[in-house]
């Protein structure tokens, strides 16, 4: 057949169906009339002739059927008809259809959005680098088993010896104060080894990138590479930026080039703005040259696999190199090395930053599960309702296969609808950037939907929808149509309702778990917000002050700080002011191992093993009056005074727990504490002069206050200090006011925007706040779904027991008694589910607690709140069918069958 004629005929078969059918009908009737005319001519009467003609034709419908089978495109037409039929059938039960589609879509959409966000952020390959699949991260394993950063000497040795890696580079990053023609800003600065850009395989957008020859002592013409974004924002993309000077941390650096667009460095969670040679790191550290000591891990390392080598081979080779180093250098004793495929995330990021997404994903998975159970349940309800319809069709001769086909098409339509709506929901979810940033803070994430994820979600939907749609057929195939038809609507289907009850109870249980978890997280957050952190941040403003840019010597810096304090205190609204290196809560503060005097290890024992000793304390460099500003109670001894200056004996104030850990049961005042210096001149023992109450210094979410020791800022040179100001009226002080004071003392010193301490404290609880928000949202969703499921089962129960209930009413049962009969059934289901949910909650809480600090092991109140919510929902779900049952007119109900 010629293609054009074929298309024309398919068109006619499918699109002009009516016309084709009419033609066929008329053609056959003409045949019969002509045949009858023949018979009449042969002498038969008109009636007899017509009967004979019909008989000879042998059933006009059968002939039609056989003729249609010859039509091209008939199978397509059949499919179109089947789809139309399925659509009509679904449209006849709009509640079932819309609930099923919406439920599946929410599950699919949520899961797709979460996976997309994961893939686009935490799991994405580093952007704008060459062949990211060849990159590996290298981390050092301390003798304690903890993964960590690498020292520069170790890095240099490994880089020199490896053959499985074609290149290895060391880097790390920190926020720094930057000054250019446009003014001050804070930028993320990456200090990197010379091969950083060549290992990552990037080319300059302008100028050139860092090369090994740029890694020279900082006194010789230091250089910097800026990010494309920084270039656009600060220089408007001007070519003249290359060659100009940028002041980083008080050092003028020459911009030699611009990194390519989209390049963020090697840390996926922290996009970098500037890249400087790691030799520039020295001024940032107050402990000498950090690249000199083998014991101190300062760097992350990223390597590129040499052609033909695998991660396992690199691991073997680097382990060998490390064991040689460990045998040679005491600092490397007990150290190992780990090579991970891929770059961008350190193991720290993986464990810590991924916590919230992990929790949210668990909630999403649960909602998806509940959604599937819910749809399955709806399907069972519908199946029961359709038993008679299907039985009738079977009795009229429809084949079970064609029946199954019809139902399968309904399932496919449901799945298609759910998948489309789900993808739209997911799209909406990830399109709203702020929504994403509540899960992971990443400004330039790639959040395009992955079609493999979409396909997987659609397949899942298809599977569930098929299962649900075909459930009635499997039943119909087992039972003879006659039995079903004779049975009538009142015949309860016990076996089916057991499966349904289990599903509903499961949903109730799952939503109880989610709600319980959400409430527990919320409670924990409230507790942390209202709990006493050991200090009072209300009415206190803090501002970071950086005199480095003023190029003051050591004495000059002390004089600067003293003057700032004196000038600030002069204001009538200021009740107290103090300096601290770590305004609470401050997670990135210095910690060190401390010892009782006389029990400290030798410097050799300590080198590289600082982390292995039991008492590690936060170190806070403070000015006098810090405890007064923050209202931290002094328990014993005295506070610092202005007499504790650089010339006086070295003193220390310990937190209660630190004192107790070092000198259990003994008054620590007058004892000597050793805080070993890792390099340079040994630090003399510190005399304990005071003991203060514990504070949650690092984060309000900490279960226990950490060890903290306070030393006078005059006796230890900190890198920079923050100013804390408590005002009489509690109002925050203005940036302009602080800037004016600082500018009056050292015009080139920098001041960061002051912030109320209270808002910063609340920020440390952000993960808890978001987790409770997210889990709460999904928990409510789960609850609504469970209520819908429960409603379906109870309502169907009423339908099935209609006759029984009608008889009861006819025999004089009060409507209220009938309603309670129905509600009782629902409550029993709810209670069963709640019992299972309670047990599951205990396990779930354990998971949440492992992921989020401050959450109680078994939060009885949380469970009680969740259970109360659930009971309310159960009652609501039963209320409508119960009312309907109570209003049942026995005459009508009994007449239905």
């Amino acid at each position: 057949m010629r293609p054009i004629s074929m298309v024309r005929h398919i068109w006619r078969t499918v699109a002009h169906r009516r016309r084709a059918e009419l033609d066929l009908d008329e053609e056959l009737h003409a045949y019969i009339e002509l045949l009858a005319a023949e018979h009449q001519r042969a002498g038969a009467g008109p009636e007899a002739a017509r009967r004979a003609a019909l008989l000879a034709t042998g059933g006009i419908e059968r002939v039609k059927d056989e003729t249609r089978d010859a039509w091209v495109g008939e199978s397509i037409s059949n499919a179109v008809r089947a789809v139309r039929h399925a659509l009509r059938s679904l449209a006849r039960s709009p509640v079932y259809t819309s609930t099923a589609i919406l439920t599946l879509a929410i599950g699919i959409g949520g899961a797709t959005a979460m996976i997309t966000i994961f893939k686009g952020t935490l799991l994405r390959p580093l952007p704008a680098v060459r062949a990211p699949a060849q990159l590996v991260s290298v981390e050092v394993v301390a003798s304690s088993g903890a993964l960590g950063e690498m020292s520069y000497p170790d890095f240099r040795d490994i880089r020199g010896e490896t053959h499985t890696l074609s290149g290895l580079t060391a880097y790390n990053g920190t926020p720094m104060q930057v000054h250019d023609a446009a003014g001050d800003t804070r930028a993320m600065v990456n200090y990197v080894s010379g091969e950083f850009f060549s290992v990552l395989g990037v080319r300059a957008a302008a100028g050139r990138l860092l090369a090994p020859s740029d890694v020279v002592p900082r006194t010789i013409a230091p250089v910097v590479v800026i990010s494309y974004r920084f270039w656009q924002q600060r220089f408007g993309g001007a070519v003249s930026a290359v060659g100009s000077t940028l002041d980083v941390y008080g050092y003028p650096l020459t911009i030699i080039g611009v990194a390519p667009k989209g390049f963020i460095g090697a840390m996926n969670l922290y996009p970098m703005d500037l890249w400087i040679p790691l030799t520039m790191l020295q001024p940032v550290s107050n402990e000498g040259d950090p690249t000199a000591r083998r014991g101190d891990g300062w760097f992350r390392a990223v390597g590129r696999l040499a052609p033909g080598h695998t991660v396992a081979e690199a691991q073997r080779e680097l382990s060998l190199i490390m064991s040689r180093l460990a045998a040679t250098y005491p600092e490397d004793r007990g150290r190992g090395i780990r090579v991970f495929a891929g770059a961008g995330l350190a193991s720290y990021d993986r464990s810590d930053v991924a916590r919230l997404p992990r929790l949210v994903s668990a909630a999403v998975a649960m909602v998806l599960l509940i959604a599937c159970a819910n749809v399955a349940n709806l399907g069972l309800v519908r199946a029961a309702a359709r038993r008679r319809e299907l039985a009738t069709r079977l009795a009229l001769g429809a084949s079970r296969r064609s029946l199954a086909g019809r139902l399968a098409i309904e399932g496919a339509i449901l799945a298609l609808g759910a998948a489309m709506l789900g993808v739209a929901l997911a799209r909406l979810a990830v399109w709203r950037a702020p929504f994403v940033h509540t899960i992971v803070a990443m400004p330039d994430a790639d959040l395009s939907l992955d079609w493999r994820v979409v396909m997987a979600a659609a397949l899942l939907a298809l599977g569930v929808a098929m299962l649900v749609s075909l459930a009635p057929v499997s039943h119909a195939m087992r039972v003879s149509p006659g039995a079903v038809l004779k049975d009538g609507a009142a015949g309860a289907v016990r076996r089916r309702s057991r499966a349904q009850r289990l599903l509903v109870a499961g949903q109730v249980a799952a939503s109880l778990v989610l709600l319980g978890a959400a409430t527990a997280v919320f409670d924990a957050m409230q507790r942390m917000l209202t709990a006493d952190p050991g200090f009072d941040g209300h009415g206190v403003t803090y501002a970071w002050i950086d005199p480095h840019t003023a190029r003051l010597d050591s004495a000059g810096q002390l004089a600067f700080y003293r003057q700032v304090l004196a000038d600030v205190r002069r204001d009538a609204n200021v009740t107290e002011a103090a300096l601290t290196s770590t305004p609470p809560p401050q997670e990135w503060s210095t910690r060190a191992s401390v010892f009782r005097a006389g029990e400290e290890p030798s410097r050799e024992q300590l080198a590289g093993h600082d982390f292995d000793f039991p008492i590690r304390s936060y170190i806070d460099n403070v000015s006098p009056a810090l405890f007064a500003v923050l209202h931290i109670p002094l328990l014993r001894g005295r506070e610092f005074t202005s007499a504790d200056d650089e010339h006086a004996a070295h003193v220390v104030i310990v937190s209660r727990r630190l004192g107790e850990a070092l000198w259990p049961g003994v008054n620590p005042i007058g004892k000597l504490l050793v805080w070993p210096n890792l390099s340079g001149a040994p630090r003399p023992p510190l005399l304990v002069v005071g003991e203060v109450a514990d504070t949650k210094h690092a984060s309000l979410a900490d279960a226990e206050p950490p060890f903290v020791m306070y030393v006078p800022y005059t006796q230890e040179r900190p890198t920079n200090l923050s100013l804390l100001v408590r005002t009489r009226d509690g109002a925050p002080v203005s940036a302009a006011w602080i800037r004016r004071i600082v500018a009056g003392i050292a015009p080139s010193a920098r001041v960061e925007e002051p912030r109320p301490l209270g808002s910063v404290i609340a920020m440390t609880l952000e993960p808890q706040r978001l987790a409770s928000l997210w889990i709460g949202a999904f928990g409510s969703l789960a609850l609504v779904l469970a209520a819908v499921g429960l409603y379906g089962v109870v309502a169907q129960g009423v339908l099935q027991r209609r006759r029984e209930l009608a008889v009861r009413t006819a025999l004089g049962a009060r409507p209220r008694a009938i309603a309670w009969l129905v509600i009782g059934e629902g409550l029993a289901l709810g209670a069963g589910g709640a019992g299972a949910g309670l047990a599951a909650s205990v396990l779930a809480m354990r998971l949440v607690r492992a992921e989020l600090e401050g959450v109680g092991a078994f939060d009885a109140r949380a469970i009680a709140v969740a259970a109360a919510l659930l009971t309310a929902m159960v009652l609501l779900a039963c209320w409508i069918p119960a009312r309907r049952a109570a209003r049942l007119d026995p005459m009508v109900a009994l007449r239905v069958d």
Binding site: L28, Y31, A37, T57, E66, A70
Partner: protein, 108 residues
């Protein structure tokens, strides 16, 4: 009348042959086939109409509505040029097969 089962594919050839003289409606096609096969074959409507529709879709027949001998509107089929070529080709093929068969069966 004696019924001989139709060989596969012969019905199409018979219909093309039946229509080679003039356009006919369905019943007339059936009668013409009986006539040219001397009553050996009578085509039942369950085979006739699927075959007519199939041949029409192949483009070998064209159909149009016309008035029958009793002024009844009926669908008339006629051979298209492609149908005529097909008839010739199938006739040749049939003769070749029939000749070969006869030769095979009559050889001692």
């Amino acid at each position: 009348m004696p019924q001989t089962p139709l060989l596969q594919g012969t019905l199409d050839l018979l219909i093309l042959k039946a229509l080679s003289l003039e356009p006919l409606h369905g019943l007339a096609v059936s009668r013409r086939v009986e006539q040219i096969t001397r009553g050996a074959y009578s085509v039942r409507p369950g085979s006739l109409f699927p075959a007519l529709h199939r041949l029409e879709q192949h483009g070998w027949l064209a159909a149009s509505w016309g008035a029958s001998e009793h002024n009844r509107r009926a669908k008339y089929y006629r051979l298209t040029p492609a149908g005529r070529r097909q008839l010739a080709a199938e006739t040749d093929e049939w003769k070749r097969v029939a000749g070969a068969m006869r030769a095979a069966l009559e050889s001692a």
